[in-house]
Subunit: 477 residues, 2 copies
């Protein structure tokens, strides 16, 4: 099998399958796949070591709601249901009976959570209430499905839902959510743009939507997180009322923010190379593989295996996720290939020379060997983990930055988007012109919040009027 990341689409499917991450395309429901043991471990490390940890540290509490939402509930907020009704899966039968009220497989949980908040919240003293859950959500997608990118069963959806005393508090919470998502993606070394989505591309029921976008290896943009200010759009129909400090009764103000399976899709896509996965040590299911090099001399071979075992055990004790690969029916070369495909950050080869002298540690990211004294192994691996991570993170950011360009010219913008670049262009701010860009140039990602884009003196690329903002356009997933 030959991998070639410049043919990203094929590379991605092959790596998912061959590394044992996610079995896609064989499960007999379109747009749904199976997390395999190796993939499940990666998913769990990303969720537990990063997502859950950071949410818990910032005062969020995890809950778990039912997957089924009655139609009557889902329809209570009209704009919301309008945004989702075309792609909801409906349960209509239980056993042999028709259900009185169809039940939706949750496409997202604002309605279910707001309904329960109406029981839970009564006083400002309970606010802010910051909940989250990590659950599957369902969308009957009509677009082409892609593993972990566009699924009908989004098997991993971290959705946070918060309730506040005022518009301003909810607004502040959106800013906190943006900081949280920065931390999450920074810890994975995944580069991002932060874009304020245009009005026509908000979450159904939101006052505004801020999105995290990354650039995939083929230059297309992938949305990897969204943050919504929901105002009182759900709390009014669901009657989530509370008594304020001044004893007036008001409806609570909400936000919601979500990250899906795409966090794993981006992790794979952004760091991988022509040999397969490259995983940050912090989330790699296997951080170190130890491989004894077979020796012709029997005595020596035995010794090499013993030392390999000792080193494996030693690392295990220090808390490393380490595997000893002492299979007899595979050559070292074959083993290297397999573990490189799985993105194992460090490989320790134990041969004759390593018995007495220093150990040889090969780094997956730069594919270079380093000599390490045995007694310094733990410490060196820690240092190398940091260097490893900084290197892949820097490379990923460099790539993304190289794909973002500016132009004031409509035709050039079209050409650049055609070449799969993200273009930043001046815009007058009128929806009419925005929709024209959406149609003729590329999807309007929105206004950059991650940099101070100068707009003064510029003119809208579609109408030539004075520009009010810079917007990013790109071909998206």
């Amino acid at each position: 099998m030959k991998l070639d990341k410049s043919n990203f689409s094929e590379w991605y499917d092959t790596v998912l399958r061959e590394s044992g991450l996610y079995d896609y395309g064989r499960y007999p429901v379109k747009g749904m796949g199976v997390w395999m043991p190796f993939g499940f471990k990666l998913r769990r490390l990303v969720l537990d070591n990063i997502v859950r940890r950071i949410l818990d540290e910032t005062g969020h509490e995890e809950v778990l709601f039912p997957v089924l939402i009655p139609k009557t509930l889902l329809e209570k907020e009209t704009e919301h249901i309008r945004g989702f009704e075309g792609e909801v899966y409906w349960v209509t039968k239980g056993g042999h009976e028709e259900l009185d009220i169809p039940l939706a497989l949750r496409p997202t949980s604002e309605t279910a959570i707001s309904y329960m908040e109406s029981f839970w919240i009564s006083s400002y003293k309970q606010l802010p209430m910051k909940l989250y859950q990590i659950v599957p959500v369902y969308r009957y997608e009509t677009k082409a499905t892609r593993p972990l990118i566009r699924l009908r069963e989004v098997s991993t959806f971290k959705e946070a839902h918060t309730a506040h005393e005022s518009f301003e508090d909810a607004d502040k919470q959106c800013k906190e959510a943006i900081e949280i998502y920065k931390r999450i993606y920074d810890e994975l070394g995944i580069p991002y743009m932060i874009n304020m989505r245009p009005s026509w591309d908000r979450f159904a029921g939101a006052l505004y939507t801020v999105a995290f976008d990354t650039v995939m290896p083929d230059g297309r943009v992938l949305q990897i997180g969204t943050v919504h200010h929901l105002g009182q759009n759900f709390t009014i129909p669901f009657e989530v009322r509370f008594q304020r400090k001044d004893e007036e009764v008001d409806y609570a103000w909400q936000t919601s923010y979500g990250i899906s399976d795409r966090i794993i899709a981006a992790l794979i896509a952004v760091h991988g190379d022509d040999r397969g996965l490259v995983l940050p040590p912090k989330v790699a299911p296997i951080q170190v593989v130890v491989i004894p090099i077979p020796q012709k001399d029997e005595e020596l071979d035995k010794k090499v295996r013993e030392v390999a075992k000792e080193i494996t055990e030693g690392l295990k004790e220090k808390g490393w996720r380490v595997v000893l690969d002492d299979r007899d029916d595979k050559t070292p070369g074959h083993k290297y290939y397999e573990w490189e495909l799985k993105g194992v950050p460090f490989r320790i080869e134990i041969g004759k020379r390593e018995l007495e002298g220093e150990l040889t540690v090969a780094r997956r990211d730069i594919r270079k060997r380093t000599k390490v004294k045995r007694e310094e192994l733990d410490q060196k691996l820690k240092e190398m983990s940091e260097e490893f991570f900084n290197n892949i993170k820097e490379k990923a950011w460099e790539f993304m930055r190289s794909r973002i360009v500016q132009t004031d010219d409509l035709e050039e913008a079209k050409e650049l988007v055609e070449k799969r670049m993200v273009v930043e262009v001046p815009w007058c701010g009128r929806k009419e012109c925005g929709l024209r860009m959406d149609e003729e140039v590329g999807r309007v990602l929105g206004m950059p919040l991650d940099k101070d884009a100068k707009v003064k003196g510029k003119r809208c690329i579609t109408c030539g009027r004075e520009a009010k903002v810079i917007v990013r356009l790109a071909k998206t997933y």
Copy 2:
């Protein structure tokens, strides 16, 4: 609120709600509830620290399958679908379209997993394959629902699925599964009987079913785990074939075994008392609460709070799950009541005396205070955790043992089951007599595998013929 465990049904519902574990009866779909933050933490500790750990240690690998199973797949094993068809939820619509093939919300995953195994398994070298997942399953129950005991959304179902080379290997795996379930329930101090279910009460599609049963405080028996030998019942229709060592091709042999939300239901029911939850330290979301006792003297009060904080921080550093309750608007008595309800194993009260002298640690299980030197706190808490756990475990086992009695008389058996006892009676082994016991006396739990029940010389309580086995009968959930 007054708790009275002798009125178990009310006690159980009240404790679930008031301790903040599980919100039941308000979510607008019958038989489905919401895991609240405190309950979610308990659930997670039980799953991560016990269930996942033990399954991982014994070579099981976690995977994640879609929740939807096409009707065509579910129907492939005829006995299986007959067992479930009355209680399957069906998704029939996606958006505004009727689906070509209805999709079931999984009632269990044998069919989905067997289908995928037909791709994955080709050689004996891949066997045994031991997979598990922790997922929600769905049953359109017609019986009365009860929180965490009989739900329409069983929010937590740990289902293991294994494939083997031979009948014997699968049989051995069932024995391993029984050992695993013993470890799991032993670590939670939950007593169990192990019963070989009678032929008419097997899992739909199994050669045999072994169940773990516990006795609830009201004397009714709750099934808390099952282990099934599936033979080749699924691998033949799903064509899970493999090449044996002797190069012949055979169908794989399977087992499956599951534990549901009932693990939490049993944990709550078995250990709780008239003050609420009593949680084993290993899984208690909060293991220690530190409460400063308010002092009239301002200086002294400040000092008490400081010390309380220091002790909390010290315990946190040692890895304890500890909370400092320094709320001003609650009396110590009110705080005691709240934390006792939540089953926190240890309470440390910091008053004037504790500033200089020893600390006072109150144990939740026996409700007694002990003096502990501050420098010995960590060590003492460890010892007390063990004593705590041994005490509640022993008490729980004593209770269960006291509910199991023997009789050779049909009328007495009826009376005993009426009194909510588990009775062990001799049985001739004929289905006819078994079904009569089921109908007239109590549910046939099956033949005890946890003890050597003497049957020699005894006669079947229904027909008077020579008895072949002892069976247990009881009123069940």
